[in-house]
Symmetry: C2
Subunit: 461 residues, 2 copies
């Protein structure tokens, strides 16, 4: 055990306390009323960066609301490799009414898990990377140059980081880029994700009458916008679960036999996990692809929210003026987000009945799907780090989620990208009672330390 | 002009003030937090009944929450006819966020209209009937015995009045039963509604996964409950607007040629009004029926509300656990509400995909549609009263709305029923910026006075 690992072991309890401190800050980036909390979390991180010995610590605020936190340590010298680590510290909204058993911003520990919004997505990654750096520096023998970049608007569309990365390519130069986010399919099974889906989101508004009407007076001769919206949504997939938008699959890469084998190495366990974690009656989706392919190598069109009319307690005899749906598409290489938006827009215009008017608004400008080199030096170092820390070799897989910044890094920087997750997929990201398994948090710190050591040991300048 | 009419004319300003006083009480019966306001409105009405000289004034509270208000005056003697007048003083919910231009519970007068929740549906009817009675009694020559019955839970399903009417048939005995609710298709066009649709309401919940999921992780292999709900809703009507529930039209009476002529006497004006009042791009519904038939003589299946996932500002990458829709059917004679509920339930169970579970809950137990005798003494007295007060003979028509208590009166009492509306259909019942036209309110008082006088004049004991 290196002295960095010993340091991490000795300070494990304090690392957990710091995780709790960060979880208490409700850094919800999708709600304007939490902007000050996001800034507070940024300040908290900058202070800890300074405390552990990072230099050039800054909150680059050049363009308004830009809650980035940057810090670096370049003491390993020019011949040593440089690691850029990215995580996001902002979170999705959370309210008790969503089904939380305890306050989402007051972390509670039960049976080795800490429950709080952001526990698994992604504050445990932030603290794990930060504490790995602290351990490497405290041990006095850090073998790599370090750059840490933490983002506070990943959940709200990453409006600023893309321009920041584009403008600061030289300063962010690194041999390896660690994007610490995502999840592991089982607590004891590390994975190296070599592909991510992209995302684009939009809002569809269907308007019928100019104002809410009495359903007794007009029911039967006004096309109800909720019904019209439902009729349109029902036409977005066929009975097989295939998206019906013309051209939607045009640019999707076929799954090769080699990749089919790789992606489905763990299919039986994944199907079991699916049943356990979803509790849904049975799987759904394109019959010609496996469960794992459908959620990683295939694009989707999802209805993330719908609202119209009266949906409170009780009943109201209203025929509403409008109904809205929030729609997102998960994208795979080489689908172009803008082109997909236009295809969806055109198809909706085509299927909209003449009895209503529709409007489709782009919510988030989107990110394309990405694939990373599976046998880079960084990927190999990560493989060693996971194997040592978890006692089990990682699986190579593609993930269904989206990390738009990974696309940006791939396009703008030339380092080797590794996605390094320490969180369990069952940890309830974006839902109620989100949690992190503390054992995985500590394994994550160890993995991040070993990754740097291994990268340095195999580095050829 | 009779002395009763003179009294009403002299006290017109105070009658308007009293209307405003009642409008200020937010007697929303569909929301439990307003129960005390409903009781307060009941007390207000009971006090005014006592003040104007009604006897036996009571709030019958025999079974818990039963906000009925009853008062009578039997001084016309046994040979005079007895009139039972019914109105409801409870209202639908209203919030500024729904698009109100002023506080819905602070009446505002603009250009001869008073804007407030309940203005047209139906507090102006309550005050008009009450002030007609006050005028008849104050003039000292009231020719009819009077019974007033005001209800405070019409908007929330009329849970208690049916049992009350069934148990108090003798006390409520009357020659004519005036149900003062509904609306007129144009401010200058009185109508006598001889038919009403019934209603039954329910809530459909579609559950997929046990909890909200991340749409990146599970999008593509979990059937999204919003999508499943939309797919089910889309199967409830065919492309013609016909309800597809098997058996739904089985008991519906055909529109006879005579009734077709009666119902469509005013079709051209109704189509113009439709365009003006709805603002919808074009009419919708069963092509083989006219606009007016579709909203009166034909049953409907309407989605009154829908909710699922995240529908706040912004975006959330959630694949929700469930989605719900509030559904109601407007019924015509001789459809049986319970049978319709069972038909909808069975059809939904049949079309529900195996990837989700569904639950259909009955919200309000429902009322059948009704038709009233078109040439009864009461209907003729109403025809005279409308013609004198409005300067125009009323049209005979069927309405699309539901007044469940009218069904109950028809089944339990043997008086001749008249629906007597003084409100404009364009008054925004159940929607934002509901209003009453004050000129119609005063014509309503005159109509109610003349109705009693005419009924007495033509009465043969």
């Amino acid at each position: 055990m290196s002295s960095a690992h010993e340091y991490a072991h000795a300070h494990a309890a304090r690392f957990e306390q710091q995780l709790n401190d960060l979880l208490r800050i409700p850094s919800v980036s999708t709600l304007p009323e939490h902007a000050a909390d996001v800034q507070r979390a940024a300040q908290w991180l900058a202070e800890d960066m300074r405390r552990i010995g990072l230099q050039n610590v800054q909150l680059p605020q050049q363009s308004g609301y830009l809650p980035l936190v940057y810090g670096e340590w370049l003491g390993a010298g020019e011949d040593a490799p440089t690691v850029l680590s990215y995580c996001h510290y902002d979170v999705q909204p959370a309210e008790m009414a969503d089904g939380w058993e305890s306050n989402p911003f007051e972390p509670v520990e039960r049976e080795g898990k800490v429950y709080a919004r952001g526990a698994v997505d992604s504050k445990s990654h932030v603290i794990a990377q930060l504490k790995a750096v602290e351990s490497l520096l405290a041990a006095g023998d850090c073998p790599v140059n370090l750059k840490l970049l933490f983002e506070g608007e990943e959940e709200s569309g990453s409006d600023h980081i893309f321009a920041y990365v584009a403008q600061h390519g030289a300063a962010l130069r690194a041999d390896a880029i660690v994007v610490s986010d995502g999840s592991l399919p089982a607590p004891d099974q590390p994975v190296l994700v070599y592909g991510l889906r992209g995302i684009i989101s939009m809002e569809l508004t269907v308007t019928g009458p100019q104002r809410d009407l009495h359903s007794g007076h007009y029911g039967g001769n006004v096309h109800n916008p909720i019904q019209a919206l439902a009729e349109m949504i029902a036409q977005l997939h066929d009975a097989n679960g295939t998206v019906t938008v013309p051209g939607f699959y045009e640019d999707v890469r076929a799954v090769s036999p080699e990749e089919h084998a790789l992606l489905n190495a763990n299919l039986a366990q994944a199907e079991q996990e699916w049943r356990k974690l979803t509790g849904a009656p049975q799987p759904w989706g394109e019959a010609e692809y496996t469960l794992l392919e459908r959620s990683s190598a295939r694009p989707t069109l999802e209805i993330n929210g719908i609202a119209g009319g009266f949906y409170g307690q009780g009943f109201k005899t209203v025929l509403p003026a409008k109904a809205t749906a929030k729609i997102s598409c998960r994208l795979v290489p080489d689908q172009d987000p803008q082109r997909i938006f236009e295809q969806v827009r055109d198809y909706l215009a085509q299927i909209a009945p003449p009895t209503v008017t529709i409007e489709l608004q782009l919510l988030e400008s989107g990110a394309p799907g990405v694939l990373f080199e599976r046998d880079s030096a960084a990927m190999r170092a990560a493989e060693v780090a996971y194997t040592r820390s978890w006692g089990k070799a990682p699986l190579f897989t593609r993930e269904g989620g989206s990390i738009p910044v990974a696309s940006s890094f791939q396009q703008q920087l030339d380092g080797e990208i590794v996605l390094m997750s320490f969180g369990y997929k069952g940890g309830g990201a974006h839902g109620p009672n989100e949690y992190v398994i503390l054992d995985m948090f500590h394994k994550g710190i160890a993995t991040a330390i070993t990754f740097c050591q291994e990268l340095a040991a195999t580095h050829r300048p």
